[in-house]
């Protein structure tokens, strides 16, 4: 029972406690198989480093049946438009050398499985990199072109393509070795109570997942479905864009997409989902 009905006295609280507490580790029946051929692991035993849960669940398991259904067939998934746009971009020549991504990485499918281990420590760069940073490394250092803005649709689409070719692969980001320090930074952020509302990620996504907060059904805040197509803003949204919104909503000064803080937070949050499938580009409300 992670949530905090810490008693201030009053036997009356017992009444409150008698009400069913959500959360727990109930297992959901729903199964996600995309296009009838890609099975997606949407719930799995929690990795050792996530002490609060015994079962981790994809955000998909918290969505309405209608929203869930949109992800079961690529013809119904609006995010696939972004994937198609990125496929064109993958073959388009870019920058000083006239090369395309395909000049070096034959096809996007060549990069299958890559998404599942990102964010990842990069020795040469001496830092943890997100998939967006890795793409930009190729764009700038290998193709001699201008960096793509971190959160621009071109980048979000390419990120969607990188997820698409890894769908079904099991998320397995490394948290030890040279990544350990960044991971710890992300973990500290996860439990920091930001803003005037003094809310941490854990207050909502760990202590209260499966509860309603006003009209929203809280999930565990996993990133395995990113980038996500949101019905609310009818576009693909990057992980960092989501983080930015969640921190803003605590009445805090938020961080910027691509900032070192969000890279650390992404590594930590991604690692909480080790064991789920890469599911992006997913559909959410």
């Amino acid at each position: 029972m992670a949530r905090g009905f810490r008693s201030g006295g009053a036997a009356a609280l017992a009444l409150v406690l008698a009400a069913p507490l959500a959360g727990a580790d109930e297992v959901i029946d729903d199964e996600l198989v995309i296009n009838g051929e890609i099975p997606i692991v949407t719930q799995a035993p929690a990795p050792e480093h996530v002490e609060a849960f015994s079962v981790i669940r994809s955000g998909w398991t918290f969505r309405s049946p209608e929203t869930q259904a949109m992800e079961m067939d690529d013809f119904d998934n609006p995010a696939i438009l972004g994937v198609e746009a990125a496929r064109d971009d993958f073959d388009a020549s870019l920058g000083a050398n006239g090369e395309s991504c395909a000049s070096c990485h034959e096809s996007p499918e060549d990069l299958a499985g890559v998404r599942a281990v990102y964010p990842k420590w990069d020795d040469a760069a001496g830092e943890v990199q997100t998939i967006e940073m890795q793409v930009n490394e190729c764009v700038t250092e290998r193709m001699g072109a201008e960096a793509w803005p971190y959160d621009a649709s071109r980048m979000v689409n390419m990120s969607a393509l990188m997820s698409f070719v890894s769908r079904g692969e099991i998320v397995n980001v490394a948290i030890d070795g040279p990544a350990a320090e960044t991971w710890q930074q992300g973990k500290d952020m996860y439990y920091t109570r930001y803003g005037q509302l003094e809310l941490s990620c854990a207050n909502c996504h760990e202590d209260n997942y499966d509860n309603m907060i006003r009209a929203d059904h809280l999930s565990q805040g996993m990133v395995n479905g990113f980038p996500t197509y949101r019905l609310k803003n009818t576009k693909l949204n990057s992980v960092h864009n989501r983080f930015k919104g969640c921190i803003r909503d605590t009445m805090a000064q938020t961080f910027s997409p691509g900032s070192p803080e969000f890279v650390a937070l992404e590594l930590y949050v991604a690692s909480r989902g080790n064991g789920l499938s890469v599911e992006g580009p997913a559909v959410r409300n």
Partner: protein, 163 residues
């Protein structure tokens, strides 16, 4: 013939003095909490307005039903389930304790997710409302002192458990 004007003048003097006796609004930093986290005296000296309190339960910086179900407000959509339902809350806590819970619930429930509504920090990265930008200067409490009194007055009406 002079009696009336004199009486009137006397009345004016009395009413002119009244503000001197009226209670000063207690600033967020000056609030004194009991060991249990309650606040014994009104923050303003002006009785709370139940209707204005009901409004804050739903809207603005209050938005209490984001986290609490309140059967008496069931005409409003989407009540949350983060905190306990507030039905019958006035039978569980007295007015002083409710005032303390609304002003700063962390004094009653250490570590609670419930925001402190009559409090001014210090905060981690305080923002400028919901813009995502840094706060400009000092942060005002989420609710004014009178807002707190109004909400408490509303909570005091929740003295039964609906069938």
């Amino acid at each position: 013939m002079f009696a009336k004007p004199v009486a009137c003048a006397a009345f004016l003097i009395v009413s002119g003095l009244a503000p001197l006796h009226a209670q000063e609004v207690v600033a967020p930093s000056a609030v004194s909490f009991t060991d249990m986290g309650g606040i014994e005296t009104s923050l303003t000296g002006t009785p709370g307005d139940v209707a204005a309190g009901a409004e804050l339960m739903n809207k603005g910086s209050g938005n209490c039903i984001a986290c609490h179900k309140v059967t008496a407000l069931s005409d409003l959509p989407f009540h949350g389930e983060i905190g306990p339902p507030l039905d019958g809350v006035a039978t569980r806590w007295d007015e002083a304790q409710l005032r303390g819970i609304v002003a700063n619930a962390k004094k009653t429930f250490p570590g609670t997710i419930m925001p402190a509504f009559y409090h001014t920090g210090p905060y981690v990265r305080p923002g400028d409302a919901f813009t995502g930008d840094a706060a400009k200067g000092d942060v005002a409490p989420l609710l004014s002192a009178q807002d707190v009194e109004n909400v408490v007055a509303y909570l005091m009406t929740l003295d039964t458990y609906p069938e």
